[in-house]
């Protein structure tokens, strides 16, 4: 698996190709549509991260030394961002996940979606991912 920062750099380069926000958002929407759907049985209360407007479901599994995340949302834009996050954080070691700095968010101009004022559950999801990693690292 490549390093977290490498993947982030790649995503930033990808986004740099877009000349306007429409392209960027269309790309995100496509990512969202392509994201492996979460099996209905996983959409439990337990896995739910309730945003005020859109919900996120998150599952973490440890495979060997790394953690595999799967996630879903009812809103496609949220799903698009989840797809990016999974690209970066899934299959990484707990330690790398705990310590990483997700600088790509700001660089590709999506920080508004991950600010504390957004009611989409994404911020809580990132916290939860790091928490899982921290928990699994120390198991």
């Amino acid at each position: 698996m490549r390093l977290i920062d490498e993947i982030q750099q790649e995503i930033i380069s990808d986004f740099n190709l877009f000349s306007d926000w429409t392209q960027k958002y269309e790309y995100l929407i496509d990512l969202g549509k392509e994201l492996k759907v979460l099996d209905a049985k996983h959409k439990t209360e337990e896995n739910l991260i309730k945003g005020c407007q859109s919900n996120v479901w998150l599952i973490a599994k440890k495979e060997k030394n790394s953690i595999v995340f799967t996630a879903d949302s009812d809103a496609i834009m949220t799903k698009g961002i989840i797809a990016l996050l999974i690209k970066i954080l899934s299959n990484q070691t707990p330690k790398d996940i705990t310590n990483c700095d997700l600088f790509f968010i700001k660089k590709i101009g999506l920080s508004e979606h991950l600010s504390a004022t957004r009611a989409n559950g994404l911020l809580s999801m990132i916290k939860q991912m790091k928490l899982y990693a921290y928990g699994l690292e120390n198991k």
Binding site: W21, T22, Y25, E26, I29, C52, Q53, S54, N55, D74, A75, I76, M77, T78, H113, A119, N120
Partner: protein, 404 residues
Amino acid sequence: MIDVSAVRNLFPILNQKINNHDLIYLDNGATTQKPNSVTRSIEDYYKKVNSNVHRGAHYLSNLSTEKYEQTREKIKNFIGAKKTCEIILTKGTTDSINLIANTFDSNINEGDEVIISEMEHHSNIVPWQICCDKNKAVLKVVPILNSGEIDFDKFQSLLSKKTKLVSISHVSNVLGTINPIKKIIDLAHKFKAKVFIDGAQAASHIKLDVQKLNVDFYCFSAHKLYGPTGVGVLYGKESILNELEPYQGGGEMIKSVDFNKTTYADLPHKFEAGTPNIAGVVSFSKSIDFLESVGLDNIKSHQEKLLQYATKKLLEIKDVIIYGPKHQKAAIISFNIKNVHPYDVGVLLDKMGIAIRTGHHCAQPLMKKYNIPGTIRLSFAVYNTTKEIDLCIDAIKKSKKMLT
């Protein structure tokens, strides 16, 4: 007829650029923008008058008190109350409802009933849930029809001698439904129940006459009437308010304080403990001036025109579902697009400079009734134009295309 461009000139915020687009503000149900006169009045207050009210014997404190009380007088006339002492100044609709839910509860005993409707805002649900819990009373909920109107037959059948209070919104903040409050009030009174009307979405465009309505309590927030944040109005009939215990203690709400026996001040001060939002209240009088200079009837017909226009345009888009009634409706449209999450539409419209609201609009039980996670809501004010609606409709079409 309104000269919209003249009106727009009074609202500097409308010249903002958002995400490189001209701001189109269609989130007026959440809060309205403020005309220059309101902002200027706050500034003037702080630069020339600022002093505490009801307390001093000095020039500025007198002036401050006078200006504060002039707003009360203006509100009294604005809603057709009999006396100024019936106007309690609060921090908003939510504060007003909680005030009554906490004081009128002396009339609510075990087994008594309070009636609300399925379309209420959380602010008109939760205080009554707490009140009923505390007093072992029962909260009854009038269901609404699929059309978005109150099921009046059900309402009638819920009323009984046990009903102590009915609390209903004048206008639904989600559906725009204008409820038949006069009918509700008259009917409830037959059962000796009192009626509280949540006018948060109504007072900015429906001319009120609380005496004619014979309503027992009525409330609204200044910030939804082109006024400042942090100011609310609670109207109550003098005879009823007089019977209630105070809500908060402190400051000037007393006649005399003694560790053995404290006696309370007369209305309205009994319900206004502590230093109020003086600058806010003073400037609210400019909002009322604004509303009256444009004319509530003009505002109403302008907004109705926008409502009709937007509804027609929206329905031309395939797969759009509008919630709420066809008639007797305020300038609020809640809709969804089939297979599209409302949040996604909100995000894309925002990118195009259009401020609308998506989500449950603090009316989760209503969302549950329609079995939806939320709606996309457009809500219009006096300064909106059909051109803005055209741009909004284009943006909705573009979003739909991107999302499906």
